[in-house]
């Protein structure tokens, strides 16, 4: 198929700025396969992917993948057709109370709404991957006289993404302007490791809540890594998890982690794990994944044995792209006592979201349905709604942060339906047309920014690199993100999530099954852009006005 292709050096691709072009090779091979599937081999725009991977990939890799395709074992669904069905109201209300833990999760499951992936051959129970509406209750023992404090969170929902324990750009007074946000904050330990090996004896009795001035009614989830960072260099060993920090590589052992959680007193922890940094499914050795599973399981056991303070544990579910190994990881976790929920953090694979989601669903079929599930890397609205349909309960708010960092204001609406509704998911405040536009970001929006400021002022703040630009945008974008989840919960309660999600995805021009990767304009004729792709852009672009690395923040779209 490549005889008519003239081979020349592949042009620069902003998604892959590094010297190592391995991921880019894989991405182009995958995009080509997908493009041909959708449009046929003769569709001219597909050729750009072919040209790119022919130059970039070692020929034996391509041969290997071609063979996988011929055998039908290439990791991509072939018969993907969208048949979102209305969830049948099974209403199997399950009240799951883990014995040792103070976390309670009650939920109502609906019938499976997403077709199971063809590759996920094992029988999956209906409840395992159906959207659920629920409530997480954490009862916290406190040292003061007020007795145990119960904090609750409705699901599906998001955990507030933070940097150094605070929501990006927002100090407490401004975060308070956000109003009805979910009272759940996700903090990553890696932000606090710049100075030395993890020791927080200094923070005192109030733990992390006191240190970062979180309200005591806030549910605190402590994870290890920042979900917006896609590429890492620190290596782990049998005894420690390697974590990159501003001060160098830190070695986090299970014992360290137990001490840290004793000191920081979170409500929920996602313990350390040996995440596999490997973009290429067919190149990753099964051995490496097996090792990551056994290390992670061993660390989890050690952590549970060593700790004093007993937060609820969301076990990291491992297994990378291997269905078989995902089952092994899930079974190991199910065999353990003291697990209150699951975390799907192992998503650094350069795979389309739909494929990642199928991997998660495969694990879910082996895991108890009665426990809450958090998924990292599912923050973008289109991904979040798909994840929720697949039975995920929690994501995080890294998406609105990514929107803010690009000088954009969210305008998407879960209930957008008519053709009169705009199909733009955001408003670009960098545009020249904003210069003299004295309207709020969105007419009628009740957020602090829209009540007080104009597009013109925010455009001016961006042009002059004033930090207030990101403060005001972040407030608006968080407001929109919260609205989105409220609408999803309402839709779930009505029993119409499947139709509503389909309409939402179609309205915003997302391929309801597979989102085209950023820049892959040709994936489908009607979908010319990746409307919710801000996180992908964030991953390759440091652009906050205070960042020392001055990169160009925005390129005016060529008209």
């Amino acid at each position: 198929m490549s005889e008519s292709i003239k081979v020349k050096t592949a042009p620069f691709d902003a998604r892959f700025p590094n010297v190592n072009q391995t991921k880019r090779c894989w991405q182009n091979y995958f995009d080509y396969t997908k493009c041909v599937e959708a449009k046929g081999e003769d569709f001219a725009p597909c050729k750009q992917f072919l040209r790119a991977y022919t130059t970039l990939c070692p020929s034996e890799w391509v041969e290997n993948w071609d063979n996988l395709k011929d055998n039908g074992t290439f990791p991509m669904a072939k018969d993907a057709n969208l048949s979102l069905r209305q969830p049948l109201s099974m209403n199997t209300s399950v009240r799951a109370i883990s014995r040792k833990m103070s976390l309670h999760f009650e939920f109502t499951a609906t019938k499976a709404a997403m077709p199971n992936a063809a590759s996920s051959s094992s029988s999956s129970s209906i409840a395992s991957s159906a959207p659920r509406i629920g409530k997480i209750l954490v009862s916290r023992e406190t040292e003061d006289q007020q007795g145990p404090l119960a904090v609750s969170l409705q699901t599906p929902n998001f955990l507030k993404y933070t940097r150094h324990g605070l929501q990006p750009h927002l100090v407490r007074e401004m975060a308070a302007e956000l109003g009805s946000m979910p009272k759940a904050t996700r903090i990553q330990l890696e932000d606090f490791l710049a100075d030395d090996t993890p020791d927080f004896s200094r923070v005192g009795e109030q733990g992390m809540h006191g240190f970062v001035a979180l309200d005591r009614s806030e549910m605190l989830v402590l994870d290890t890594l920042d979900p917006t960072v896609v590429s890492r260099s620190a290596k782990s060993s049998n005894s420690f998890m390697g974590i990159d920090s501003e001060g160098g590589t830190r070695r986090l052992t299970a014992e360290n982690f137990a001490r840290v959680t004793d000191q920081l007193k979170p409500d929920i922890v996602v313990p350390l794990a040996d995440y596999v940094e490997e973009p290429l499914p067919s190149l990753t050795q099964g051995k490496r994944i097996s090792k990551s599973i056994s290390r992670s399981a061993k660390w989890l056991e050690e952590y549970l044995a060593k700790r004093q303070h007993q937060p609820a544990v969301f076990a990291p579910v491992m297994g990378s792209h291997s269905l078989e190994l995902r089952e092994i990881s899930a079974r190991k976790i199910e065999a353990m006592d003291g697990i209150s929920g699951y975390a799907f953090n192992d998503i650094s694979l350069a795979l389309p979201f739909e494929h990642k989601l199928r991997l998660v669903q495969h694990s879910l079929s082996e895991l108890s349905a009665s426990k809450p599930r958090y998924m990292a890397g599912a923050s973008a609205p289109d991904d979040a709604v798909r994840a929720i349909l697949a039975g995920i309960d929690l994501v995080d708010s890294s998406y609105p942060y990514a929107v803010t960092e690009q000088g954009l204001a969210s305008t998407y609406d879960f209930s957008a339906c008519s053709s009169e509704d705009s199909s733009a998911a955001h408003l670009d405040l960098w545009q020249k047309s904003m210069f003299e536009n004295f309207r709020p970001l969105v007419d009628g929006c009740q957020c602090f920014t829209c009540r007080n400021h104009t597009r013109s002022y925010i455009h001016h703040l961006l042009m002059t690199k004033e930090m207030l630009s990101t403060v005001l945008l972040q407030i608006h974008n968080m407001h929109y993100y919260q609205r989105f989840f409220e609408a999803i919960r309402a839709s779930l309660a009505r029993g119409t999530l499947a139709q509503d999600a389909k309409r939402f995805l179609e309205h915003y021009c997302c391929d309801p099954f597979d989102r085209p990767a950023a820049g892959a304009e040709v994936a489908t004729a009607s979908c010319t852009k990746n409307v919710f792709g801000e996180l992908e852009t964030l991953a390759i672009q440091e652009c906050s006005p205070t960042t020392k690395i001055q990169r160009k923040r925005h390129v005016e779209p060529a008209v």
């Binding site: 940097r163 150094h164 324990g165 605070l166 929501q167 990006p168 750009h169 927002l170 100090v171 407490r172 007074e173 401004m174 302007e177 932000d191 606090f192 710049a194 100075d195 030395d196 200094r202 923070v203 005192g204 240190f211 970062v212 001035a213 501003e246 210069f435 003299e436 004295f438 602090f448 007080n452 400021h453 104009t454 013109s456 002022y457 001016h460 703040l461 042009m463 002059t464 004033e466 930090m467 207030l468 990101t470 403060v471 005001l472 906050s544 006005p545 205070t546």
Partner: protein, 430 residues
């Protein structure tokens, strides 16, 4: 954290002045020094002086919303005409209805003339009788800023107080150029007054010039007083001159300027300078220092400043200042701030908030001490905290000129200071 009640019971002004857009009421005078506490009624807000005005160059104070600025008790903030004149430009500010509306700030605003930036930012400025000729950094074309254009820009911005365009010379310059600049500034003032289109809504302040020459300063001040302006600025200082010359020029100017009108000392913002200049009779100050140093992770305290990036704060669970009631000090330890300063925007915001609150609290303390007529004691306590036993000579001399002798104890305080030669201080580095 507000000033609402600080002049309660002082309903009768000692002195007043009335202009169409400014009413100034001196409500209390220090019985020892030249300090006074006053109310300045501006079109958008009634400010209490002596006051510090944070600088919001581009129409925002680094990452802080106007709602936060109000909560921090800021009365007047500064905008820079040169910057606002190029972005977003006067046409946009006109259609936005002025800077107040554009940035959603309902209190006082002051704009400079743009002349200082011409000279400091642009190396190729050429000053003629007509105005300042410079090369536009955006397109390289020659441009001219005249007094009329400066006032036109400032009328578009719509600040409560505008500054005349002055012929700025470095405070280190000597010789005939200083005298030429001083007289030219007077001529430019007259052109500015003529060009000012909104005298009932905006105040135009002249600027006392004359370098470090007592004769020229005196001439300049006397010339300006003849124009009966709503208030006066003391300019051409804080440019690296010896502090011994600086305070002498300030006190000479306040001696000539009318006592019933506000005096504004431009570019002053270090805590000890604010205390000394207030004792010399100055009412208004501005400086980028508190907000700029915050972005490098330096938090202001009465003893100097804390470089929170330093490892020694890693385990320090105290707030920046136990006596500070700003949102940062109420919620965060130095150890927490150490983990985030210079890394996240929130770290920068937290220190900026504290540093503004620090300046505002210092000014409130100065005003209260004047109202309660214990300002000399306040000065002694302040200098003791700030410098301990050894105080820079210029401070001792400046204060001695207004009857506060730090080298001998008085009946209110047993503190005595030893003067040291430290008048070339530039950036506090303690």
């Amino acid at each position: 954290m507000t000033t609402s009640d600080e002049f309660a019971g002082l309903s009768k002004p000692l002195e007043t002045s009335n202009s169409p857009a400014l009413r100034f009421e001196v409500l209390a005078r220090c019985s020892t020094t030249k300090a006074r506490a006053s109310k300045m009624h501006l079109p958008h807000y009634t400010a209490h002086t002596p006051m510090f005005m944070p600088v919001g160059t581009m129409g925002s104070i680094k990452g802080i919303t106007t709602k936060q600025l109000e909560a921090l008790d800021c009365h007047v903030i500064l905008g820079n005409t040169y910057h606002l004149g190029s972005r977003p430009g006067p046409e946009l500010l006109d259609s936005a209805g002025g800077l107040h509306k554009f940035m959603a700030w309902n209190r006082g605003l002051l704009t400079d003339s743009g002349g200082f930036q011409m000279v400091s930012l642009l190396k190729l400025a050429n000053i003629t009788e007509e105005g300042v000729e410079f090369e536009n950094p955006h397109d390289g074309k020659k441009m001219m800023l005249t007094p009329e254009m400066s006032i036109g820009l400032q009328n578009s911005i719509g600040a409560d107080i505008m500054m005349q365009l002055d012929d700025v010379v470095s405070s280190l310059t000597t010789g005939p150029r200083v005298e030429e600049a001083m007289w030219r500034s007077v001529r430019w003032l007259d052109r500015s007054i003529k060009a000012h289109k909104r005298p009932t809504e905006q105040n135009l302040f002249p600027i006392v010039q004359g370098g470090l020459d007592e004769r020229l300063r005196t001439l300049s001040a006397k010339e300006l007083v003849k124009r009966d302006s709503p208030g006066y600025a003391i300019g051409g200082l804080s440019g690296g001159e010896a502090k011994g010359s600086f305070w002498r020029m300030v006190t000479l100017s306040t001696d000539i300027l009318p006592t019933n009108k506000p005096r504004y000392c431009m570019g002053v913002g270090y805590a000890e300078d604010l205390v000394v200049c207030s004792a010399l009779g100055v009412d208004m100050y501005d400086c980028v220092f508190p907000t700029r140093t915050a972005r490098f992770g330096n938090a202001l305290v009465r003893t100097g400043s804390l470089a929170l990036r330093q490892g020694r704060f890693k385990d320090d669970m105290d707030p920046i200042d136990k006596d500070c009631d700003c949102p940062t000090c109420k919620a965060y330890s130095r150890a927490y701030l150490h983990t985030t300063v210079t890394k996240d925007t929130t770290g920068c915001h937290l220190i900026t908030i504290h540093n503004i609150a620090f300046q505002m609290r210092l000014m409130r303390d100065i005003r209260r001490a004047i109202v309660e007529d214990r300002f000399p004691l306040f000065i002694r306590e302040f200098m003791q905290t700030r410098f301990g036993k050894t105080v820079p000579l210029w401070i001792v001399e400046a204060l001695r000129s207004v009857n506060v002798d730090l080298t001998v104890a008085d009946k209110s305080s047993s503190y005595t200071a030893v003067p040291i030669d430290g008048d070339s201080q530039k950036e506090p580095s303690y």
